[in-house]
Symmetry: C2
Subunit: 335 residues, 2 copies
């Protein structure tokens, strides 16, 4: 049976989640794709930590060793930060290798050029996991709303902030205590700056902007306010008026101008995002024919993120076998 050869770039929580999901659902993937999916290489930071990985997997700190493997079909990228992820993915696309990424910081900035490069090389980029974790918002917009034109997005895109606001509101604790609790439960990173200052939600909003409008607003013109200046007094005053603060990312078009904002907003109970509590993400998508559809789901986590990335894999390879062989024949003919 033919195999799909995959490499993992990064072997932290998400990388291990992908490995686990691919391994446990091998039979299902075989049914869906008519092929096995084999992990042939893993890019790690410290190989001595991963001595228990199967011997037939190349475990290396050197990306060159991976990208030069023969017949590599796809790389899963779960590295944090812009570089070296961007260089790796650029290289992969140039080699005609499909890319599936969870890297929102990198993709927010480079979605446009990477998507163009993918088109030029006749390969795909799966980026469901960059935005709202396991909630399939990217492919809902891309595949289920094709005749519809999305006009506006209003969303809760950062689970850490939403957890903190929920805890402050439900249990009348202050920001510091709620943040400490979020860290303890694994809902906030050791350095939570990007989550609580709105950067993470902003990055995801820019990815949605690129997808929907094929464009982004000038970053410096987007108001970006985090949640860290909200006091217990603010939260309680809101509650007394039956309102809640939620950290909301909005984008829509006004004439030719993209308008975007990321900030804490006071919502009344009739608002579709009022009741989204805890670490969940939620995205209200308003389109010109169907109206508003809201998706709610896990915004992060090992298995939800891995789920999004493996579903991306299926989407890429399900309609591709014929195209791929046509492409190979073309290459041979060119030689």
């Amino acid at each position: 049976m033919k195999k799909i050869k995959a490499a993992l770039l990064g072997y932290g929580t998400v990388g291990q989640g992908i490995h686990e999901v691919l391994h446990e659902h091998q039979e299902r993937l075989r049914i869906l794709l008519g092929k096995e999916v084999e992990i042939v290489a893993i890019l790690v930071q410290n190989p001595s930590k991963h001595k228990n990985l199967p011997e037939n997997i190349v475990v290396t700190t050197n990306f060159e060793e991976i990208i030069t493997l023969p017949e590599l079909d796809v790389v899963f990228e779960a590295i944090v930060g812009e570089e070296p992820a961007l260089s790796y993915l650029t290289h992969a696309l140039d080699k005609g290798v499909h890319v599936i990424t969870a890297n929102k910081m990198m993709f927010a900035k480079h979605a446009k050029s990477l998507l163009e490069k993918a088109r030029e090389n006749d390969v795909k980029i799966g980026f469901e996991a960059t935005t709202a974790g396991g909630t399939p918002v990217i492919r809902t917009i891309e595949q289920l709303l094709q005749v519809n034109r999305v006009e506006k997005i209003e969303a809760i895109l950062n689970g850490t902030s939403n957890y903190i606001l929920t805890a402050m509101s439900e249990r009348s604790i202050d920001f510091k205590t709620a943040l400490a609790e979020a860290k303890e439960k694994g809902y906030a990173e050791a350095d939570p700056t990007n989550d609580i200052d709105g950067t993470d939600a902003f990055n995801k909003l820019m990815i949605l902007s690129q997808l929907i409008f094929n464009d982004q607003p000038a970053w410096h013109k987007v108001e970006k306010t985090g949640i860290k200046d909200l006091t217990s007094t603010d939260i309680q005053a809101a509650q007394e008026n039956n309102k809640k603060y939620k950290h909301i990312a909005v984008i829509y078009k006004e004439g030719d101008q993209l308008k975007a904002e990321v900030s804490p907003l006071l919502l009344s109970s009739s608002h579709p995002l009022y009741n989204i509590d805890g670490v969940d993400n939620a995205i209200a998508i308003t389109s010109n024919i169907v109206g508003t559809i809201t998706l709610i789901g896990p915004g992060a986590g090992k298995l939800p993120t891995a789920s999004a990335m493996v579903e991306d894999l299926v989407a890429i390879f399900q309609h591709e076998p014929e195209n791929h062989s046509i492409h190979q024949y073309k290459d041979q003919a060119a030689v």
Copy 2:
């Protein structure tokens, strides 16, 4: 340019909505499909009522006139009730014509045999509009959660019931007044029996069951309770305890057994469906990898329903041109 030739069966609100959406988004469809979509025939009850339709469209009460048209590619079915819809669609599938239906009553009962017939004839059935109107729950399960196995559905599937319960709760009116109001606003039909006794939600649940489990529970074993026996006193008592009655459809597997129930349930404010008010539908989908994703959106209405059906059209024809011509060659070879 090649054309996709479509017929509309039924020209009530939904049929007219499809016509409107196809007409207004012709350019978009051309970009997506590389083809124009042309309505070549409409099945109506009373042709004299529709004299203003373009002359190149066959307007008839006779289905035979439609199904014998040369090169018909797809029928949109928006008729109410089991027959003659079932016979028409069976006939269409036998002729190798794709089918897109909004008919939940018919499809709940005959999904299995129609889907089998479609497979035999190498055509597709789009049925997004049968369940939760414009909310893309069918294709989320079918296309976005393929590696995932759906384990449980918990849903509000009837907008009329939800509107009535919301009105009774928010404005302390009784069932009769709320129903009258729903009729006045067009949210309830002249005969609302199927909506308020749970039949409509049950039908949609059976369609979801067929899709997810490729099976349905024995219909007579499913508890089906409507909302008409809920009194203002019940609703107010719930409210005093910060709870709400919602009309909930549930299905899951216990061992080998499918368990389903449709009934009013008392939900606490932490429940994901607690805050779904008015005519919206909502579906909480629990899968084995990603966890729970909830979709909320319009459960009915001219444009949301038409949106779902036209998006189905795109899904059917987007990956089909090559297959279709292969199929045609095969047929010719067989002759």
